[in-house]
């Protein structure tokens, strides 16, 4: 199969790769780059588990071809905080217990991040709407909505973080 050259930025690092036209972005991220934090759930675009940020907008990486990401800037869960310093959204998900098994969490966090960038002071209804396109089988969602609202608060109360968030 003919391969396509793609050039893109992933979590701030420049990448060049030759990929099959049919290669999914999720597989490129996970297997090509070894970034296993992006999970794949239903693999047909329903559950939202595989959601990543592409040029600042969330996309379902299981429905996106790697070739479509040519020239794009991709951000995955690995771009956020680490074990020593969690990003406020990660911190909020932990404090509100917006996760149990953690499998949907990278997608939920990507969705939350995009949402809060556009709406830093959401109402509960708006936060609920924001995750209505993604599935979680563990939490019953209430704690996820709590986490989004708490994340908004944490970001607002952390001036340095706010700038970073705006930067992103």
């Amino acid at each position: 199969m003919n391969k396509i050259e793609i050039n893109l930025t992933v979590n701030g690092n420049r990448q060049r790769a030759n990929v099959e036209p049919r290669l999914l972005l999720s597989d490129f991220i996970r297997d090509g780059l070894g970034l296993k934090g992006t999970h794949v759930g239903c693999s047909h675009g329903v559950c939202g588990v595989c959601t990543v940020s592409m040029d600042g907008k969330t996309v379902r990486s299981c429905l996106t071809l790697a070739a479509q990401a040519d020239g794009a800037s991709i951000e995955t869960i690995e771009h956020l905080g680490n074990a020593t310093e969690l990003h406020p959204i990660q911190q909020a998900f932990s404090e509100a217990q917006g996760l149990q098994c953690g499998f949907c969490t990278p997608g939920m966090i990507a969705i939350t991040r995009e949402f809060l960038q556009h709406n830093p002071t959401p109402t509960r209804e708006e936060a609920t709407e924001a995750v209505s396109g993604a599935l979680c089988r563990c939490t019953g969602y209430e704690a996820i909505v709590d986490a989004i609202l708490l994340a908004a608060e944490l970001i607002a109360n952390t001036p340095i973080r706010t700038e970073e968030a705006a930067d992103e």
Partner: protein, 834 residues
């Protein structure tokens, strides 16, 4: 105590740690230990495992529900570049035998179908290739010739089918796998003497756990040693690993199973034996490491994890005052094509068959049938959620017949707090409880009177608000006899009685505590639980505890999570290990402080003299001393400071203990099955109250309010328990309103994908749950803890059914069947009874 059973029926309690008010860590909502790695994308789930030289497998799934495999031509597929190996059922059977079954006589199942397929989606062949893409390309190049057989797709068909339509002819010319009447107490006389007998036919359709991560394995075969290493997201890898080895034709110690984090299970990954056996078989055939992770279609069509699929013909006997005398029912259960856990989901139901009510006699006639569908597995509740639905529906029906309020009829029948331990007619006991307190707390949390006023006002405006109130049992701490106790007496099968849990605890030279679990993370918080218990035991900060997992090579006897058992069982093991290490630490501290051991206590991350704040040694100092300064201590007992006899190993270098904890309270079933023994006694209880609004024009249901009060004994972490209650309730909402695996007459599953099989999203569940706990300690478990992992799903279907009937009382709608998605409910509104 009641009825036919002797007072010595209940063994003495083995509880060592009493429930106490002054616990410092148990009972606190500490932040989950598991969170950081899950939040940063470092969870290491099964699909994240990569081995050098690893290949990828895909399976060819049968398009037919029932067919003979005439021939398989793999020649074209083999020519595809990148294909490493192709394995058919007969190839696999050369070295790999049937997979685990607890049915007796056995129901033979293979990891790849041999000669015949028994349900749509069953594996017919597997391709191992350099990538999953190539493996799936190659699947399309395999030609299989099938000879179709008659399909059995309903319970009704299964009861009468013969000949070619029999799914497992080797078990006889019938699709009835098992048929037996289990009767406890004087059922006939209770029915004769009752003032009223109310009958209902109820249908519980097939749904499934459907976690967002599916099952899988990564296996490697070492030709030099003949040993397999296999990563898998199995919950019970340490319990059933040896059975996987048996299927592979090797010794248990030649299969090392390494656990990984599971992205949700809800029962679906309980054994996960088929992925392990399949992937090891492929690795042996390919001579390369192989990864097989189910895709969504594999996970649903070939999963072995569908839930109960039952038809009930039930009657309840009540007196005019609302007192329930007896319950009897025929239950037909569509098991699908195989039976992996015996009739365990019905044994499970018998553990709490009378619910929280004083019912003196019960009878269940079970008819288990085989059909051409995916087989049942375990799903949160393991059959007891269906039993709760049946019993609550029958109590509701009795209330309607007698004109008694639904809450009032429950109050009149609840077992009272002074009646524990309560012996069921079927033999199990309820250890403890305060059922009235749970019910009243739920009613007050939700302001039931206020909602009734609003409901009446809404009625005037033509709005249909419904209120449901149920009181249900939540059995916890699985024990193994339920897997076989319902089997025929002459063929009980593998009648195992152990379901232990183990831990290894080690204190490192710096005084940090390492705890090794012998069961995996399956989606909730085993690490947090053990951390809280060990922090309590050693008076340390939770951050001083590190948790890891043993593989089966290093595995001590363990069962794994399931049946809401893990917190209770790992606490028991952790208490045993901690006590052993604390004995040694006390001896070391006594020597260092030159005081008698009985003057010492554990406090402030160390050991100190009671009443003397100054005399204290930190755990880190004790640990360093124990690890590296052996010569500071005497060689034998005589030299210890208080002159007591102490074995010399008290001072041997290092601090570690391994402990195995068996189930704290089980007994054998009666040899004639007059009762089933004590097998699920650690009994939780709950009251759920749902307030819903039904739009009669569309059949859509919205939640206006929801309260769930649970009594899971002493709560270790209220926040994580609340998470299980909400999550379980949400799954129950799916079961009640949306989820059903729909098979057509040809045995084709019409809605396998998440696009068609709708699990609840954020708008389908209550926006806010009112959660409450009542804590009645168990007298049998350490600290009085009970399990609470499944409760939500064990009450919400029952409460929703009642609330829907209440909302639609002007339409005389009876809810006799779940699920009731909007379309079906709309039909009921227009047509009456389901």
């Amino acid at each position: 105590m009641s009825n036919h059973l002797e007072t010595h029926y209940i063994p003495d309690s083995k509880q060592r740690e009493r429930p106490r008010k002054d616990l410092k860590v148990i009972g606190k909502s500490i932040r989950r230990v598991e969170d950081t790695r899950l939040l940063t994308g470092s969870g290491r789930y099964i699909d994240d495992i990569e081995l050098p030289g690893m290949c990828h497998a895909a399976i060819l799934r049968s398009p037919y529900a029932h067919a003979r495999i005439v021939s398989i031509d793999t020649s074209k597929a083999r020519e595809l570049p990148g294909v490493v190996a192709i394995v058919t059922g007969s190839d696999a059977a050369k070295h790999t035998g049937p997979v685990v079954t607890f049915a007796s006589p056995p129901v033979e199942q293979r990891c790849i179908a041999l000669d015949k397929v028994r349900h749509a989606g069953e594996a017919v062949a597997a391709v191992v290739a350099e990538s999953r893409y190539i493996a799936e390309d190659a699947i399309d190049l395999i030609d299989v010739e099938y000879e179709e057989l008659p399909v059995v797709a309903t319970i009704e068909d299964a009861l009468t089918s013969k000949g070619q339509a029999v799914v497992h002819p080797e078990r006889g010319d019938s699709n009835i796998a098992h048929e037996h009447l289990y009767s406890f107490g004087d059922v006939d006389s209770d029915f004769e003497q009752a003032d009223h007998v109310i009958k209902r036919k109820l249908r519980w359709n097939r749904s499934g756990p459907y976690p967002l991560e599916y099952k899988g394995a990564v296996a490697e075969f070492d030709k030099g040693t003949g040993k397999f290493t296999c990563y898998a997201n199995s919950s019970m890898y340490n319990y059933v690993g040896w059975l996987c080895a048996a299927s592979l034709g090797i010794a248990p110690s030649q299969l090392n199973i390494k656990p990984v984090v599971a992205g949700g299970s809800f029962g679906s990954k309980l054994f996960n034996h088929k992925s392990i056996i399949l992937t090891c078989t492929l690795a042996r055939a390919a001579g390369r490491p192989v990864k097989y992770v189910e895709d969504a279609m594999d996970a649903v069509l070939n999963s072995d994890a569908h839930g109960s699929d039952r038809l009930y013909d039930a009657e309840i006997a009540v007196n005019s005052d609302g007192k329930i005398r007896s319950l009897r029912f025929d239950v037909y259960d569509d098991y699908g094509a195989f039976i992996q856990y015996g009739y365990g989901t019905h044994g499970n139901a018998l553990s709490q068959i009378i619910g929280p009510y004083k019912i003196k006699s019960v009878a269940m006639k079970l008819t288990a049938v085989l059909t051409n569908k995916c087989q049942q597995g375990a799903y949160r509740g393991f059959g007891s959620e269906v039993m709760n639905f049946l019993l609550e529906r029958m109590v509701d029906a009795a209330a309607d017949e007698l004109g008694i309020d639904k809450i009032e009829i429950r109050r009149r029948n609840l077992i009272q707090p002074d009646e524990f331990p309560y012996v069921l007619p079927s033999g199990n006991i309820y250890d403890s409880g305060n059922y009235p307190a749970v019910l009243e707390k739920a009613l007050s949390l939700i302001d039931i009177d206020g909602w009734r006023r609003k409901q009446a006002e809404a009625r005037k405006e033509g709005k249909h608000i419904g209120i449901g109130v149920v009181t249900c049992q939540e059995r916890s701490v699985f024990s193994s006899t339920e897997f076989w106790s319902l089997n025929k007496l002459d063929t009980p099968g593998f009648a195992l009685t152990s379901s232990p849990e183990s831990i290894r605890v080690k204190i490192d030279p710096m005084g940090k505590i390492y705890a090794e679990l012998h069961a995996p993370f399956w989606g909730n918080s085993p690490e947090t639980m053990v951390t809280q218990v060990l922090a309590e035991q050693f008076t340390v900060d939770p951050s001083d505890i590190i948790v890891g997992y043993a593989d089966t090579d290093g595995g001590l006897p363990g069962t794994g999570p399931g049946g809401s058992r893990f917190t209770v069982m790992i606490t028991g093991a952790a208490v045993s290990a901690a006590r052993e290490i604390k004995g040694k630490l006390t001896a070391i501290a006594a020597h260092m402080l030159q005081v008698a051991e009985d003057s010492l206590e554990f406090r402030d991350a160390g050991v100190g003299v009671t009443g003397d704040a100054e005399k204290h040694v930190k755990l880190s100092d004790l640990a360093m001393m124990s690890h590296y300064f052996r010569l500071n201590f005497p060689d034998d007992a005589e030299q210890s400071i208080d002159g007591r006899n102490r074995p010399p190993q008290n001072f041997s270098s290092g601090l570690q203990a391994a402990a195995t904890y068996d189930h704290p309270m089980t007994t054998m079933p009666d040899p004639e099955r007059k009762h089933l023994g004590i097998f699920y006694p650690i009994m939780g209880n709950m009251a759920h109250v749902a307030v819903i609004e039904v739009d009669p024009d569309t059949g859509r249901i919205q939640f206006l309010d929801y309260a769930a009060v649970h009594d899971a004994g002493v709560v270790v972490n209220p926040k994580t328990l609340a998470g299980h209650i909400r999550g379980g309730t949400a799954q129950g909402i799916g079961t009640a309103l949306y989820e059903e695996f729909q098979y057509d007459a040809a045995g084709q599953l019409l809605n396998a994908s998440l696009a068609d099989y709708r699990i609840p999203g954020v708008f389908e569940v209550p926006s806010s749950f009112k959660i409450g706990h009542v804590e009645t300690p168990s007298p049998y478990t350490e600290y009085g803890i009970k399990g609470g992992g499944e409760g939500g799903r064990m009450a919400s279907p029952a409460v929703i059914a009642q609330a829907v009937e209440d909302a639609l009382s002007p339409f005389n709608v009876l809810v006799n069947e779940l699920p009731i998605p909007p379309g079906k409910l709309h039909g009921l509104i227009n047509g009456g009874t389901s």
